[in-house]
Symmetry: C2
Subunit: 375 residues, 2 copies
């Protein structure tokens, strides 16, 4: 229900596979506890026209914190259970910060957030942590994280020790995919692949409405598909990873050098739309490489839907067309031979910068949501 907004008991029975009697009993308990509200009465589409109750989560039932743990700092949102964002904060920590520093700063920021927004700290249902790196199912950040000091740290334990609340953690792209699944571009899809084209390249796999995290948290690490074992060194330690050619890092370095100032993806996209040939070509190169990677993913997972996010996705047609064309050349099944409903469709993500934070909130709601069965 935390995923779907308002819903009827019959829909819940269908979605969960539970008996209607079980659902009725559970709803009645949740109503007593004021976690669920009866928001409307609707007429059934078929049948004798008996009115049906429509239920929704009570927005006042609690708050969740979404926390993003990045290269040089933290970002934080406070949201209610209907996923309205009540507060937003950014915390600079500088490069190479320690887990302890992150935890302390987060604690101060959270206390501040609740005071400023007049919320009761007792309303806190849980904290979701989105990490810029793979997170093992037990909460341990793997070595391939982009924050070296966090490698080997159990981020769930770090926050659980400081806050007396439920803590959930996952990779940032997995969180972004969860946000798209829960409230974004993928609410109608049980299975999809999420690809984030940004400074690096990230991703996630959703099967039967669950994120495939993998045995050690490396599920969806598309940026580290080994394209050329003799290629350039990647920050992960391997050579020739996909993100070296399909992420914006190299392009930004080159453009910064050319323009003698720090250049962002937004700058490159803006210049490309204005006709800067160098920027148009740079985006086309990224699209070509990303399409090759997606072609490989196509021969492995054959997704029907690819949700494309990250700042790079703002390049729109400059990126999408060449990417689709490159995908077609590199994947097994060709578009022309497929029925319309079997063809891969690329859908732009709904969330751009805040996707992983919204996903971290979804992580908490799924983790706690008995009706959802967790994720």
């Amino acid at each position: 229900m935390s995923e779907r907004g308002a819903i009827t008991a019959a829909d819940l029975a269908k979605a969960t596979g539970l008996a209607r009697s079980t659902i009725s009993m559970a709803l009645s308990e949740l109503r007593s506890a004021k976690i669920v509200l009866e928001v409307a009465q609707a007429m059934e589409v078929r049948g004798v026209g008996r009115p049906t109750s429509v239920f929704s989560l009570n927005p006042k039932a609690g708050t969740c914190i979404g926390l993003h743990v990045g290269l040089s700092g933290l970002r934080l949102i406070v949201a209610d259970v209907s996923h309205a964002v009540l507060h937003h904060a950014e915390i600079e920590l500088g490069l190479d910060y320690t887990p302890r520093a992150a935890m302390r700063k987060a604690r101060a920021a959270i206390t501040d957030a609740y005071r400023r927004s007049g919320l009761s700290p007792h309303s806190l249902l849980g904290i979701g942590v989105a990490v810029a790196g793979p997170v093992a199912p037990d909460g341990r950040i793997q070595r391939a994280s982009i924050v070296p000091n966090l490698a080997g740290v159990n981020i769930r334990d770090v926050f659980a020790s400081a806050f007396e609340t439920a803590v959930f953690a996952d990779n940032e792209s997995n969180c972004s995919a969860l946000a798209e699944l829960t409230w974004g571009a993928a609410t109608d899809f049980d299975d999809f692949v999420y690809v984030k084209i940004d400074v690096g390249l990230g991703g996630a796999i959703v099967v039967q409405r669950r994120v495939v995290t993998g045995a050690a948290g490396a599920g969806g690490e598309f940026g580290h598909i080994s394209i050329d074992p003799n290629g350039g060194l990647c920050r992960c330690g391997n050579r020739g990873c996909l993100e070296l050619t399909a992420g914006f890092r190299t392009v930004l370095e080159r453009m910064s050098h050319r323009l003698k100032r720090s250049v962002t993806i937004d700058d490159v996209v803006e210049r490309a739309f204005a006709g800067d040939v160098d920027c148009v070509e740079a985006i086309a190169g990224i699209a070509e490489a990303a399409g090759r990677g997606l072609g490989i993913i196509g021969s492995i997972l054959n997704p029907g839907i690819v949700v494309l996010g990250g700042t790079g996705a703002t390049a729109g047609p400059l990126l999408f067309e060449r990417l689709t064309d490159s995908y077609e050349r590199h994947t097994l099944l060709k578009r022309a031979q497929l029925a319309a409903e079997q063809r891969m469709r690329i859908v732009p993500a709904r969330f751009t910068t805040d996707g992983s934070l919204m996903g971290a909130v979804a992580l908490v709601l799924r983790g706690l949501g008995a009706l959802q069965g967790g994720g």
Copy 2:
């Protein structure tokens, strides 16, 4: 239940998520219809020691046909619902046979099988078809099939028109994975990757005990991961596909030329075990290439378990060691930094030649099994 052998009502409730009352009712109906038998009474491990009924499918409840549609012919088994094989047949059709010829020969062979084994044709519950090529969810064989005449044919419709019974169809490797999941090396694993190293290279992905077929049936087509877009031409039409280096086709051609006779994978493996340096090196080369492909799969899916099948798997340590070593070099997360339970484990498949046929039978049982929820 068709997957798990004997089981209690409590186990069924746990496995299906249905209420115990629902299970009891369903079991009682199935017992009346003699589809389910009460095979034993067991004491519960915990609790007051009330005896619990243990149920099993009735082997006499029906028979299933598993049919393999290959390059130059069909293979067929008749099995009962406890997956005992009652009959086995091979039908040569020559290269480039038509779907109609396949259907007619299959019908004759099935009639013959039931007459010879004294089974009633009325016991037939369904036919499962395992195809050497990708099969779309609607039963249509995709162009990338190795039998050109079958491209675009809806194989489910072909057999459904000739037999008045339920027909299910899937790719041969997807079927093999289902056999491993149901009765083989993967019964204990909800999530795994299946890799078949044979003349070509095939595979399948299992997530939450279901095969990920993909939007158009190309899920698990690992043999067609694009390794080198400028490489040699593959039978699929792309260049530099993984199976060109990780399958035995090229090696068999080379060895046949060297030995001036038709050489099989068994020959190569046997010679390698006997110390033939050329054969040892050929297997090592295949292992190196397969490890690179598996490294890519590792960065995409991060499987905890890889079930390795196909005739190539009989090379055992000659294949497994180099493959594991190559995987380690090409994947994101490195063994040394992972907790023991997060490391990828390679497990040999239980079924070798008959895996896809057994899986085709499992396809029928899952498809019909109301208790299983289907696959």
